[in-house]
């Protein structure tokens, strides 16, 4: 007889035959009754069938209903089991809050860090560029070996020649853009505001082909004077100042006092060439040659090109090199600029953040890995402690698979909870990163935690759960399970040696990972500390910075210099101001203009004639305001104005190079027909940032050669920001319409210049500390457990007269052996991995022996501390009690 209740499920064919049997049985019963009523057997059978109705339809109907039921039932059972496993898992996790808390907290951190870093990687490196067929777009540079400039900008005539002669590019475009430098003043609509602007040359939009949100981009004929008062607006400005007005196209706005017609608005994700956001794109031709030099010596244009299909960047580079080589032999100003460099636009935009980002990816992956190893190790310990419970379950009929599934459910539950917390943490971190704005990431406007990032987080959580859950689950449900039940209360000793070895290996892994993280953190922190301790040549404390610009058309008239002086005088008159001066490009914010040594009439050998000299336009008192040291001679004075003899101040680097051992003050340079007299020597200012040495630099009085950009530095007696309002009002007392683009402190400016290094140092530091803590936890956990397990043995040893010190040494030795193993493996791995940090480090090599020595000492010290408490516990064991427990 077949069983009346089959479990779990009936097959399709079984269902069919059961329905057949049921119906046949019914027909037989009806026929039997008919026979009793006197029907002949064959007639009875056919009558029964006739009375039944549609037999075939019913057969099919019953089969399909049964099959549906069977399917629902199986689904319910799977669900039911899962629910049971999860309930059980939750109960088990609640029962050991210590484990759950550590696992969840470390996981949340590990997964959160991964979520945040992945959001950044996705937004910056992976997300598609907002251009049509971006793979065909490249950046192009002129290069000069003699000047040591591998990637230089073009002059406008060079750009036009390249544009006319290239055959391999579909279009070539140019632009002039520098953060804080290219900008226009928006007036007549609310408070005057300095807008960031890209000055675009022909071909810019044809090359990138962004899709405007409304309107259009610039057309080819809008670069010609007379038609060039047109502007394309960025999304941010459109929303901020014009409330997203859908009828903005065709309206006139006032930029630099001139009317501009808005022709279109670009989508939010298009900010090229800015990193995050750009206000307007206007034709470069709007600025005449008096504002921006157009000679062949005046290199300022960045060039982009759209290659014809099938053309490789290398082919294009060959073509452009040939053109620039010819130009360099045709024009004296072009000497040396005889080659070209080409890179895909993606490389050009994110090239220099890729490496640091990948370093972070590696670091967060290591953090998650060490977290997983830690949890796996905790789970192993737990599984050993739970062997009896599992053995009972096995004895009650739970199969091996069922128990593995149960334990994995537990791990996955932890992982998913950790994942949810991690996702929340990552979300917060990314928002904080965006809100801080201090991290100057290219495409930084593109950062958010979206569905793809969350999906990835979910996946990472699952993988993590399997990673730390699989090994302990397999081991716990191993074949020795029933055996453990039989061995009774001391079951925990079963398979102990193997389990201990496994946990030992995991602890070694943890320590090794910790070494890598700590080494990375140490290198980044030391590098950052060295960067901060560099003497910049200025005293940034107490210095307020205000940026504005004088309308360029004023620069040659009398109004410009007068205005310039009046603004500075108004600020100097404020109480609480020690000194005020101005420069066009603040330190870390631009390298000034770059004439050749020969153009300035510097005493040079022919080979050095093309050497680049940096030139800055400053006001009197600039050095005093920024805290630079005048080494000899005098500062500029108000009498150094137009008409007076042209004077200049050189920095120490220049003085040492051209007049070694002599006094530069009093020297006169013959720059063409102009004589320049050196009146002072100033200490080197690290203009390019703390990581770069000062270049030979000259300073000339802005009053003799006005530039529109003005970064005013105000030395305050107290907290500089408290002067901010007064300074602004002082400027507005001179001209109510003056746009002020930025008010901040010099310290903030310098801080932003090293913000990336700072972030890297901080993040790697946090990861390093976490690695260290987890490593310590691993050793501590393993040793405490071992001491508890070996209580009797230790008790016997003490009873037999082993001195306390030998017991202590045994436990500490065990901990330190693991630590040493981990440190050796970790140091080798770290030496290999930290090489990738080379480009991110300042003043320290990735293999710095001092750092490694410190890392090893820190790790071993931590291991010793972590081993100490278990060792003390071992000492405290009372031999009598311990042996009685046997």
């Amino acid at each position: 007889m077949s069983p009346t209740f089959r479990f779990p499920f009936r097959s399709r064919s079984r269902i069919a035959s059961e329905v057949d049997e049921e119906l046949a049985s019914h027909l037989a019963m009806v026929a039997a009754r008919l026979e009793q009523e006197g029907w002949s057997p064959p007639d009875a059978a056919s009558e029964a069938r006739r009375r039944f109705g549609d037999l075939e339809l019913t057969r099919e109907y019953c089969r399909s209903e049964d099959f549906r039921r069977e399917k629902e039932k199986s689904r319910m059972i799977v669900f039911e089991e899962l629910r049971h496993d999860v309930t059980y898992a939750l109960r088990a996790l609640r029962a050991s809050p210590g484990f759950t808390l550590i696992a969840l907290a470390t996981l949340a951190f590990g997964i959160g860090a991964n979520t945040a870093v992945f959001s950044v990687v996705r937004g910056v490196l992976l997300a598609p560029l907002p251009f049509a067929t971006p793979d065909r777009i490249v950046r192009v540079w002129e290069s000069s070996k003699t000047l040591g400039i591998p990637q230089g900008t073009f002059s406008e005539p060079d750009f036009l020649d390249v544009r006319a002669e290239s055959r391999l590019a579909e279009s070539i475009g140019g632009y002039f853009f520098a953060d804080n430098l290219t900008g226009v003043d928006l007036t007549q609509r609310g408070t005057p505001e300095r807008l960031s602007a890209a000055l675009v040359a022909p071909g810019f939009f044809e090359t990138l082909r962004p899709r405007p949100l409304i309107g259009r981009t610039l057309s080819a004929d809008e670069h010609t004077p007379g038609r060039n008062h047109v502007a394309v607006m960025g999304y941010g400005l459109w929303k901020r100042r014009f409330a997203g007005d859908p009828h903005i196209v065709g309206q006139t706005i006032t930029l630099n006092g001139d009317p501009f017609v808005v022709v279109g608005v670009l989508p939010r994700e298009f900010a090229y060439p800015a990193a995050q956001e750009l206000d307007v794109w206007i034709p470069l031709s709007y600025f005449g040659p008096d504002a921006i030099g157009r000679g062949r010596a005046s290199h300022f244009l960045s060039v982009i090109a759209r290659l014809r299909p099938g053309v490789t960047p290398a082919q294009f580079r060959t073509e452009i090199s040939a053109i620039t080589k010819r130009l360099s032999s045709n024009y004296a100003e072009n000497s040396g600029w005889d080659a070209a460099s080409v890179a895909t636009i993606r490389e050009a935009i994110v090239g220099d953040v890729r490496r640091p980002l990948l370093v972070l990816v590696a670091a967060v992956a290591l953090v998650l890995l060490i977290t997983c190893v830690n949890i796996a190790s905790l789970l192993l310990a737990r599984a050993t402690a739970r062997q009896r419970e599992l053995a009972v379950r096995a004895a009650l009929g739970a199969g091996r698979g069922r128990i593995v599934r149960q334990l994995l459910t537990e791990s996955l539950t932890v992982a998913l909870f950790g994942g949810v917390m991690g996702a929340a943490l990552g979300y917060v971190a990314v928002h904080a990163l965006v809100a801080s704005g201090g991290v100057q990431l290219p495409r930084g406007g593109n950062l958010h935690v979206d569905g793809v990032v969350l999906a990835c987080t979910f996946l990472v959580s699952l993988v993590a759960g399997l990673l730390f859950g699989a090994l302990p689950a397999m081991r716990a449900a191993g074949p020795a399970l029933e055996h453990k039940l039989r061995t009774g209360a001391r079951g925990s000793m079963g398979g102990g040696a193997r389990a201990r070895r496994l946990r030992g290996a995991l602890v070694i892994c943890q320590i090794a990972l910790a070494v890598i993280l700590v080494a990375g953190a140490g290198l980044a922190a030391k590098s950052f500390a060295r960067l901060l301790s560099v003497n910049m040549g200025i005293r940034p404390e107490h210095a307020l910075v205000v940026r504005m610009s004088i309308p360029p058309e004023w620069s040659d008239s009398v109004r410009g210099p007068a205005y310039y002086e009046n603004v500075l005088d108004a600020i100097r008159a404020l109480p609480g101001v020690d000194a005020a001066g101005s420069i066009r490009d603040l330190p870390t914010r631009g390298k000034g203009e770059t004439p050749r040594a020969s153009q300035l009439g510097l005493p040079v050998a022919d080979a050095d004639a093309d050497a680049i000299i940096h030139m800055h336009h400053i006001s009197p008192d600039f050095f005093k305001a920024i805290g630079a040291q005048l080494l000899s001679g005098r500062d500029f004075q108000l009498t150094d104005r137009r008409g007076a003899p042209i004077v200049l101040i050189v920095n120490e680097a220049l003085a040492k190079r051209y007049w070694p051992g002599e006094n530069a003050v009093g020297q006169v340079l013959h720059a063409g027909s102009t004589d320049l007299q050196i009146v002072g020597v100033v200490g080197d200012i690290r203009q390019a940032g703390p990581g770069e040495p000062a270049e030979p630099t000259i300073y000339i009085p802005a009053l003799q050669n006005l530039r529109s950009g003005m970064s005013i530095v105000v030395r305050a007696k107290g907290d500089p920001m408290r002067l901010a309002g007064d300074v602004r009002n002082a400027i507005w007392s001179v001209d109510r319409n003056q746009a002020i683009s930025e008010v901040t402190t010099m310290e903030d400016v310098l801080g932003k210049a090293v913000s990336r290094q700072k972030l890297l140092a901080w993040l790697l530091g946090i990861f390093g500390v976490l690695g260290l803590v987890l490593g310590a936890l691993g050793i501590y956990g393993l040793l405490s457990f071992a001491v508890t397990q070996r209580k009797q043995e230790i008790g016997v040893r003490s009873a037999l007269g082993a001195p306390a010190s030998s017991v202590m040494r045994m436990i500490l030795g065990q901990g330190m052996a693991l630590a040493c193993g981990g440190v050796i493996i970790g140091t080798i791995a770290a030496a290999l991995l930290t090489r990738q940090l080379r480009a991110q480090l300042y003043g320290i090599t990735p293999g710095d022996p001092g750092t490694y020595a410190e890392v090893i000492v820190v790790l071993l010290g931590t291991a010793l501390i972590a081993s100490w408490s278990p060792a003390r516990k071992a000492l405290a064991i009372d031999p009598v009690t311990a042996m009685r427990q046997e």
């Binding site: 049997e21 049985s25 049964d66």
Partner: protein, 110 residues
Amino acid sequence: MPRQALGLLQGTVDVLILKTLSRKPLHGYGISEFIGQQTGGELSIEDAALYQALHRLERKGLVDSEWGVSESNRRARIYSITSDGRKQLRSEVVELRRYMAALFRVLEPA
């Protein structure tokens, strides 16, 4: 020849089956026999409809079944009502009462 039995609405078949099973578990043939006896042959369920209804009710979880043996020692599928089935039966009876009452208020106004 017995009088032509009345046809039944589908929903009514379900109620009758549930009611029958609420007394005791039965196989399909037994259910049909019982309903015939109770109504003196006035109501009869076609076998095809009966079996379709049984399997449908089982799928809905209102009845359960297992293999057993009939009085005549034949292997038969025995149906029993589930607790969900009892609940369903109670509410259907209430519904039917309301329905009939309303119907008769129209057909035989007081």
